[in-house]
């Protein structure tokens, strides 16, 4: 899977790594059991401090997307992510509310927003099958 990093973006690098991997899992490019490069390798490849990569991996592990095994390496463990669904729903309320509020102020139709989400869902699931 290709991970794209933008040094000019406002988003911190570790969040870009985290988001890239989550999108990879959602689209099926990264599957359960796939191994990820070690913290050191990915750090040198991107050209960032290994603590940055470590931060992203730790976050992904705490969110249940990956498993870090001390000796064997880092693996995708998407099955665990479903267990954290309730927590996710609780947390995503905030950012989602901001987006919906903005859509409402801009007079964007409810159906358009629904359609947009449906389309994204279809695209990700289409990639999987």
């Amino acid at each position: 899977m290709l991970l794209s990093i933008d040094f000019g973006s406002d988003q911190p690098i570790y969040m870009q790594i985290r988001n890239g991997i989550v999108t990879g899992i959602a689209s099926g490019t990264l599957k359960d059991g796939d191994s990820l490069p070690s913290v050191r390798t990915l750090g040198t490849e991107i050209g960032v401090n290994l603590h940055t990569v470590n931060k992203a991996y730790q976050l992904l592990q705490s969110e249940g997307f990956i498993e870090i095994q001390r000796r064997r390496g880092t693996f995708i463990k998407a099955g665990d992510a479903a267990k954290h669904a309730a927590e996710f729903l609780k947390n995503c309320g905030g950012p989602l509310k901001t987006l919906v509020s903005e859509a409402v102020t801009r007079r964007i139709d409810r159906a358009v927003l629904h359609q947009m989400i449906d389309h994204m869902y279809d695209e990700l699931e289409g990639n999987k099958s």
């Binding site: 290709l2 991997i21 390798t41 040198t44």
Partner: protein, 347 residues
Amino acid sequence: MSDTSLTLYGTYLIVAGLLIIQPWFSRKNVLFGVIFASHSIWDHVQAASIRHRYLLSAGGTALAFFVILLLLPFFLTDGKWSLGFNVVMLALIVIDSFFYILANRQTRKLKQSMGANGQLTTQKIVVDLGKSDRETVLSLKWLFLLIPVFVATLAVVWFGYPYIADSIPTHFGISGPDRWAVKSWHVVLSPVVSELLLGVLILFTRRAPASVKGNPNAAPGYAQYRKMMNILLIVFCLLSEILFFLMVLSFITPIRPLWFSILFVVDLGFLIMMILLHARFVRSKHASGPILDDDGKWIWGIFYFNRYDPSIFVEKRVGIGFTVNMARPIAWIVLIGIIIIAIVFSR
């Protein structure tokens, strides 16, 4: 003309030749250490004239120095002749490097005059997550190949010391040993140290990043090339080790010079293999997609200095092999350490 002078003239021609054609040992989208979006830069009219000027001045200097070298034996005694050779060699390297730096600056100006290219970016980078470390980094097991000969060399020196003759050959010409030294631990251990240094160097370069920065298509086939180069380096090391082992063995029992010559020729063959691998995997590949414009991190297109890059070794911009990231203190420590050890044991 003696064997020694012939060897020196041969060395001069090889070094001068490699020095002059150095800029051609680069990726197709790199010209004198300056990165461009596409390989079409080699067809650019102004780029061609920079190349011609460089070839004329660097080649002309090399030729002039060669004539000086041919005349030197008429003015210098035998003892001073090799010193004169070293001075000429150093002058050639300094002056030709100057012409290279000049060409690098002209190419940078050319790039500025060409305006921005959307494909060259300083901000975006794409890495391939799919490769596991096992695929990109050469397994440590390969290094085990180097241990037996190292242990054998050490054992011969350690247990054979009492049997070593009082005078030791330290330099080998075409017709056998031609320089001798008085027996001491320092002298007999120097081949062992050389073997160790070679091994350590491989251990370090093994960790070079598996891709060239930018995107996987900025340097297609690079991971494969790097792996093959590392294997080639290990085989080269193994042969050099055998050469050192024979050298140590020759302290105790006479070895036929033919063995040294054979191994020397095979080592030379590896140098040629390296150039061929470079031509096949680096020179012939065309970059595509976004390419990281990191000219600012390359001093004169030769030295890499990037504080934000954690890698110690990176692919050379110009030339074959790897270079160190000068912004990393560990790179300096390793380099200075190697130089000190090499100087101490070459005395």
